[in-house]
Symmetry: C2
Subunit: 251 residues, 2 copies
Amino acid sequence: MILYDAKQPGPNPAVVRLFVHERQGLRFDVETIDLAGLENRKPTYRNTVNARGEVPALRLDNGRIITEITAICGYFDEIAQGGRRLFGNTPEERAEIHMWTRRAYLEVVLPFVTWWRGTDAAEEAYRGHRILMPEAKRSHRLLADQGLNQFDEDLEGKTFIAGDNLSMADIMLYGFIGTNVATGEIPWFNVPQAPQRRRVVRPYGGARCQPEDDDRFASTRRKLGWPSMENDPIDVTGDRGSCQRDGARRR
Amino acid sequence: MILYDAKQPGPNPAVVRLFVHERQGLRFDVETIDLAGLENRKPTYRNTVNARGEVPALRLDNGRIITEITAICGYFDEIAQGGRRLFGNTPEERAEIHMWTRRAYLEVVLPFVTWWRGTDAAEEAYRGHRILMPEAKRSHRLLADQGLNQFDEDLEGKTFIAGDNLSMADIMLYGFIGTNVATGEIPWFNVPQAPQRRRVVRPYGGARCQPEDDDRFASTRRKLGWPSMENDPIDVTGDRGSCQRDGARRR
């Protein structure tokens, strides 16, 4: 089994990495694709891995290729040895986590990313390999803001998005957005200064300081070191923001 | 278990209905919501069923509400008694169907629907209950066309989108688009006259006539009668188009 991962991890590869580390019990080979060099848009990758030119992709032992991050993570969840399921243990839990994962993607992540795809930076990065929508930046920001407002309400009294434990839904929302926030390319997300949505921005260290055990990805951050990642896609404290706790600067 | 279904079935309720009929082995109560009267946007529905004001929704026997069509259908797939699974029987099949369902939604359905949400008809229908994107209609048509082109290539030599049988992926693509095509609100989809994409438009009776047994939803159409539906969301022949077979007008 081979995971085609990215040398410069954008949010999609970052979500799969985060899933792998939270899920535990997975072993596979990794092949690193150079996104900045558009290796994923070249004929070799498109003809042998993914005709759509997207990363990540997973080559199963039967030779079939699986793309789409939720499909890759769902497969991993089924085959992992040990660890804890992140898509749920019963039909009811799976339905709830599925629902929240899709809401997170469609209501927040997608408008958020499509906003970014309207920027000059996206035009430079994609170089004609994607239809962008600069004309709809304002609408996409409105949609993302509306989605974040809704999630902030949904999180009232909850630590995790779906159920009592961290699930794929948290990984979708925070893994994806975390990457974009970390790059500093979404100035209006404005994490540390956003008092309007305290609940939904918690994992980014924004708005209010959390005790360490209220940090949903603390264990991942500690254990992980994000091998082969050039930056931690979740940690947006430090140079890009700060959150004081007990008078000490938090990393 | 209660399914909140629509009196005037838009594409989301239609996808769940199509799934129920193809999946078989499901029993539940139905409560019909008046979308045209915006019953789903009123406080009663939003406070007791779905804060997001969307239909369909499923009330489980434990009282929890599940929304998002793929989550509802996925739950149905797990609990149905008899029939045939439409999300796959093994982790590999499930990953493949999951991948194709998500591709169908993100690459074709969503740009297609978002195009429609830029029309005057959508503005009248939603009456302020959704952020629309009239400024990005052209981009959304381009994206939907690009997605349909890709699916037409993907379908080379295949009858169904994922694997050897009808799956959730077919239901997502054809159930969703079929509803919009049936209403005549997507003039550029141009089914019966579209020779450029013969494979992907087959289920709509377009481009080339199909023998009855090559009609992916023939069994549904025959058995179903689409109870409580005001129009068949899949059948776009008849008044809105026609496909001559053996000299006879086909319904």
